[in-house]
């Protein structure tokens, strides 16, 4: 569906995207993750041809990308933008027109989506009279209005309350079931872990992870333990032998271990009454920290050390 080959983008001496390769399969719900400033938005903008790469090639729908292909792409940018003084329906029709829809098609589609997201009563109101959550739903409608084959969502859930988040997540999953390919960028690893079937992690402009969630986690093995005590006591570093990289997560602690988990359980039971003991795959967050930490200690020009795993 989308292919990037050896793509490079530099801004005045700073390499935003560095020899980047990517394959997004058709129908995938593709998570594009990485911390702020890692090059996600630049990559997405290049896929949309809002900006051009300095070198490398990009193809969308199996063909070298042209701007006209954007009619089949819906884009929700990280920074939301709508006309505050324009009525909801009018601006949705306008955005539909810009995707090549006729007035009638755009109006019909907008009205359907407005009803579906319970915003029908607001169609003739100016955007400035709507709440932030409502505005975000309008922005989502503007993105999916033209029934795009490819949806590119940059941080789609940031700032949403749980109710609106669920509404949009439901709509997104439904679009996926109907065959829309979704590339969705986030710095929230938890969201990506729960929603995406394919994940690519970008860090400092380079790809550090690529594959299905299972394949990524399998690469890192089951080397993570979760232990919780009834009295909520907190372990100190070095208190348990064979355990390192300790993180307190509220009800329990997460740690990486080496050796036999039984031995660690015995040690923990000697310290207090163990209520929770679980051997898990490392979370995306954990994997990311493992990848990023060694890089952070090196110079900014150093490329990411961990190999990418193809799904």
């Amino acid at each position: 569906m989308v292919s990037l080959f050896d793509v490079v983008k530099r801004y005045r001496g700073h390499t935003a995207v560095d020899h980047f390769n990517l394959q997004v399969p058709e129908g995938a719900l593709f998570g594009f993750i990485g911390p702020n400033g890692s090059g996600k938005t630049t990559t997405l903008r290049m896929i949309l041809r809002i900006i051009e790469p300095d070198s490398g090639s990009i193809s969308v729908f199996g063909k070298p990308h042209t701007v006209t292909a954007n009619n089949a792409i819906g884009y929700l940018p990280e920074e939301r933008g709508l006309y505050r003084k324009m009525t909801v329906l009018r601006q949705l029709v306008y955005f539909g027109n810009l995707k090549g829809m006729s007035n009638r098609e755009a109006r019909l589609s907008a009205e359907t989506w407005l009803e579906r997201l319970e915003l029908g009563a607001w169609r003739d109101k100016k955007l400035e009279t709507l709440s932030k959550g409502m505005s975000q739903k309008i922005q989502f409608i503007a993105t999916v209005l033209a029934r795009p084959r490819l949806l590119i969502l940059d941080e789609p859930f940031s700032g949403l309350d749980p109710v609106n988040l669920e509404t949009l997540r439901g709509a997104l999953l439904e679009l996926c079931r109907e065959g829309t390919t979704v590339i969705f960028s986030t710095h929230d690893m938890h969201t990506a872990e729960h929603l995406c079937d394919h994940i690519c992690m970008i860090y400092r402009g380079g790809k550090v992870l690529d594959g299905s969630l299972e394949s990524i986690q399998a690469t890192y093995g089951e080397d993570t333990l979760r232990i919780g005590f009834r009295d909520r006591r907190e372990l100190k570093p070095g208190e348990l032998e064979g355990v390192h990289t300790l993180r307190h997560l509220g009800r329990y602690m997460e740690m990486r271990f080496s050796g036999e988990p039984h031995g660690i359980l015995e040690q923990a039971m000697r310290l207090g009454r163990v209520e929770h003991f679980e051997i898990v795959h490392p979370s995306l967050h954990d994997i990311f920290v493992r990848i990023a930490q060694p890089v952070r200690s090196e110079s900014p020009q150093t490329t990411a050390p961990a190999p990418a795993t193809d799904a």
Partner: protein, 437 residues
């Protein structure tokens, strides 16, 4: 093209369907109608207060004639037959004080009277003024602190001249009937040049109207200035709003920066044309109603709209390109101030052009874009207008200039619209022109 049209339609409607714009379209009706109505309603009645005029006549020979002439004026010109007063009366007060021969004291005394509003103005008639050769003493001075009120000094100047002429004729032995015959004359009438039509018939010269010869070109220049001034800030605000509200990125995922810029520019030009067309149509209908359409040289409106379109494209694209790089309205207005100078300078110089439309300065300015947009329209609106080749050359040069500005602005717009952070300097804007996307 369909996308560009969608931008045009939306941008145009967003501006034109606002109360402020609809109100601005009513302005011509309000202005022309208001002026017409005001002149009917008020006419000369705006200020009917008596004007006390102190005359210090050192010759002693003119004051009686002045008082008598003023009495006639107040009776015949100031009051209609119906008894309705239509203008201010002059009250001539001969100076009878003790400082008649002391220049300094006389000036101070009478100036104080004007300052305290005891009198409106005063005049000093030199002792030798009535003589043919009065030498240093042939003075006729008028003093007031109302320099814009010209009726009194005009009347005073003309009346004293007539009194002196009559006196001289009388001294030469002529009687009043002979004096009237000798001094009567017809007023000067000014005409355009005679022409011959295609069939060899004479086209009668038309009477020149000084007022129209000034106000038509000046009005058209003002209209271009206002149309561009009105349209371009709309473009500027629209670009800045889209940038600040982060709408640009959504738009650019659907169309290219060039398509977006084109749509905005065309919409801006259409807004300007709608505005100016309302004025031009109202003016045309008004002149036609009063059968004065010949005041506007043939073809003036065609050239007016051609130059206006180019002006709006030039300045509109400059505004859009530069404001795309700005981060807020304040920054963009700073840039706008500099750009608008290119429009302001020729507008201010239009008075010089009206005075001498075929002079080297006017010809030169009307060939240099973007000054030529206003300068050439000024020249075209003054009969007989510039030679055709100058109009075509100016149009061609403007076209090249407009296309160059369009190209440069599209480069600035393409980079600026997504640029965040600090507002670029003029130098950085220049660098953007040659930067890759």
């Amino acid at each position: 093209m369909r996308k560009v049209l969608a931008v045009v339609k939306t941008e145009y409607r967003q501006v034109v369907l606002t109360k402020s714009f609809l109100l601005s379209l009513l302005f011509p009706v309000l202005i022309y109608g208001g002026m017409f109505g005001a002149s009917i309603l008020f006419g000369d009645k705006a200020d009917l207060r008596d004007r006390v005029f102190v005359v210090a006549d050192r010759s002693g020979e003119l004051i009686a004639g002045l008082v008598a002439a003023n009495r006639d004026r107040n009776r015949s010109e100031v009051v209609e037959k119906s008894g309705r007063q239509v203008g201010p009366r002059f009250v001539i007060e001969p100076y009878t004080g003790e400082h008649l021969d002391d220049d300094q004291k006389l000036l101070l005394e009478l100036s104080e009277r004007v300052r305290t509003q005891d009198a409106f103005a005063f005049a000093i008639i030199g002792a030798g003024y009535p003589a043919v050769e009065g030498g240093d003493d042939d003075l006729l001075h008028y003093y007031s602190d109302s320099p814009t009120f010209s009726r009194l000094p005009d009347w005073f100047s003309q009346t004293t001249r007539e009194l002196v002429e009559t006196r001289r004729f009388t001294e030469a032995g002529y009687d009043q009937r002979e004096i009237n015959l000798l001094t009567s004359h017809n007023r000067l009438e000014r005409f355009s040049l005679a022409e011959v039509d295609e069939e060899g018939n004479l086209i009668e010269p038309t009477e020149e109207n000084r007022l129209a010869a000034f106000f038509i070109p000046f009005g058209l220049v003002m209209l271009i200035f206002i149309s561009i001034q009105m349209t371009t800030p709309i473009l500027l605000n629209s670009v800045i709003e889209e940038k600040m509200q982060r709408i640009s990125e959504v738009l650019l995922s659907s169309l290219t920066p060039m398509q977006l810029l084109s749509g905005k520019l065309i919409a801006g030009v259409l807004v300007g044309l709608t505005f100016s067309a309302a004025y031009v149509l109202t003016l045309s209908f008004t002149l036609r109603f009063f059968e004065k359409l010949e005041w506007i040289p043939q073809g003036t409106f065609l050239w007016f709209f051609l130059f206006l379109i180019m002006g709006m494209f030039t300045f509109g694209s400059l505004f859009a390109g530069v404001s795309a790089g700005c981060q807020d309205i304040k920054d963009s207005q700073n840039f706008a101030g500099t750009i608008i100078l290119f429009l302001l300078v020729p507008m201010m110089l239009s008075l010089v052009i009206i005075e001498s439309p075929d002079g080297p300065f006017a010809v030169g300015l009307s060939l240099v874009p973007p000054f030529s947009i206003l300068a050439m329209v000024t020249r075209i609106a003054i009969p007989p207008g510039p030679p055709d080749w100058q109009i075509y050359l100016s149009l061609g040069l403007n076209l090249v200039f407009t296309l160059t500005v369009l190209w440069a602005s599209s480069r600035l717009f393409r980079i600026g619209i997504l640029a965040q952070g600090k507002t670029p300097t003029w130098r950085e804007l220049l660098r953007w022109l040659f930067q890759r996307g």
